[in-house]
Symmetry: C2
Subunit: 356 residues, 2 copies
Amino acid sequence: MDHTYAVIMAGGVGARFWPASRAKSPKQLLDLTGGGRTMIAATLDRLGPDIPPERVIVVTGAITVEAVARALPELPRENILAEPVGRNTAPCIGWAAVHVRQRDPEGVLAVMPSDHLVADVDTFKASVKTAVASARDGAMVTFGINPDRPETGFGYIEMGGLVKPGVREVERFVEKPDLATAKKYLEAGNFTWNSGMFFFSADRILDEIGRQMPDLKRGLDKIGEALAAGRETEVLQKVFPGLPATSIDYGVMEGATGILCVPVDFGWSDLGSWEAAYELSDKDDAANAIEGDVIPVGSTGCLVRAPAGKLVALVDVEDLVVVDTGDALLVCKRDRAQDVKKVVEALRSRDRKDLL
Amino acid sequence: MDHTYAVIMAGGVGARFWPASRAKSPKQLLDLTGGGRTMIAATLDRLGPDIPPERVIVVTGAITVEAVARALPELPRENILAEPVGRNTAPCIGWAAVHVRQRDPEGVLAVMPSDHLVADVDTFKASVKTAVASARDGAMVTFGINPDRPETGFGYIEMGGLVKPGVREVERFVEKPDLATAKKYLEAGNFTWNSGMFFFSADRILDEIGRQMPDLKRGLDKIGEALAAGRETEVLQKVFPGLPATSIDYGVMEGATGILCVPVDFGWSDLGSWEAAYELSDKDDAANAIEGDVIPVGSTGCLVRAPAGKLVALVDVEDLVVVDTGDALLVCKRDRAQDVKKVVEALRSRDRKDLL
């Protein structure tokens, strides 16, 4: 795996975890399930020792660079790439590929989000090895999560025939389905969830970008030339904001041919909401997932986060999310946790930057 | 009304309004319905001008003396009596009677709690006049609240024949009834709620205490002698803690004969819980009673109190009490607000004095 470089995408804001997540402390910089490590640190941890911090590149926003550096003290500082503005995943991955190719013309990228959970790390490592081997042979590879429910919140990958052990062809990428369609996918057995984890050589992805997104390719070339000339920062500020804000899925993967899929089963979760955090947290006898100084009276099924120095008392309530951060408090029905984004929208419309 | 002295009992801790109510800021020192005045200040206000602050005595605990003085700047400081320890209402009222008699041998006491609400102040004033007139004639008089529901949380007074306009005989005091009995009382029409508001001359109540509670009378006599000799504080510390901790209802009223009742109807509430505070607060279009910086998303029927500098967001919840005081947060089902006392009990058993 010596030529393998992990690219950890850490540009998200994670509005669904408000009030814990903020612009300066987004989801990936939080410990949402009580494991004791931030999500991005756990992401870095599970890559080693096959992919050591020296070969891990983190792409994040300018506002979070310092916090990322503090969360990942073992990561060389020059391995943190700060986007001047967020432009979705295609420019992010393309820019990382430029850096990898400059360091190692044979470099292979293992691209992954910074805010997902993996329960079974050994299986994860084995799956990465399988995917990287195909990527080194020139393929574009994606992880497909074996589904355990008819989830309507993810895109799916329809898989074709077996190429070699553990690797299948990709027939097509499909958008988030409705429930009836999701149930058909689950029954069919050859559909997996698109996890947003990709594997390809720097050469291959830059070639694909050149073929499908020539505007992006021209911008990346300018940045690459500046990088070689030692004046990347200056050019980045000019060029990056003009790059097309397109996802790698839509801009490259869906239009490419010969994509491969490694179907995986390593206890993955994208931890999409407080509800997911509740499901994955330790619970007490009354099914409450509690952190901090909390007195639950006759209350069940609640997720509670109390800040230091604060007592939270629950009386005869059930299935709530109660998150207190000192400056803000969320009280939310647990099964409506996706609606937390409505609070964030309300705060944006009121220009409450202090709470965003 | 020149010989009339109001005695405001302000010794309670109001545990049912935790976390807003604490030992040092009990219920009577809070503004729980958004009227802009503390409950004790509203109690003082509604006595004037018939009973001016010079003839109002407030009996409270040593720990709350300073807060009471701050809440009632118009009250002469010497009119605040500080109990060394709380000993229920019989010693409280007896002690106040000793003070009144020393100031005015013809003094009549109008005894009332500091933490009740009265909506119709003019009717209240008229009822006080009626009761005081009978008390001046030597009677022991109680206010009986005309019931509008079969409440099981109050004691009742069974009334007999009319003595004069607006004044009836008391047949008996009855304990808190079960629901079936409360329904019978409501139907019968001659039962009123025992409001804890009493009227009698200082002479009469001290005579009754002497007859029914001789131990208490001996203690009060010692305090009275010390008061006349200008060394009350010293004697109080020795004597008061040994007085019997008995209510005036149980110790005196229930055993007395010839008690009179003035049935009243002035929009009374004992504001017994956060639920009662909700009922009496102004609500928004979604029936939320909100104070502070609150964003309610898809939420109805909630009482919310946010402290300065804190945003509270509600998402898809209903009928909750959410009270944040900075150091403590209560989230409670509104119709179970009486269970808030269980939190206070838990805090006591954990010796969490910081939160009591």
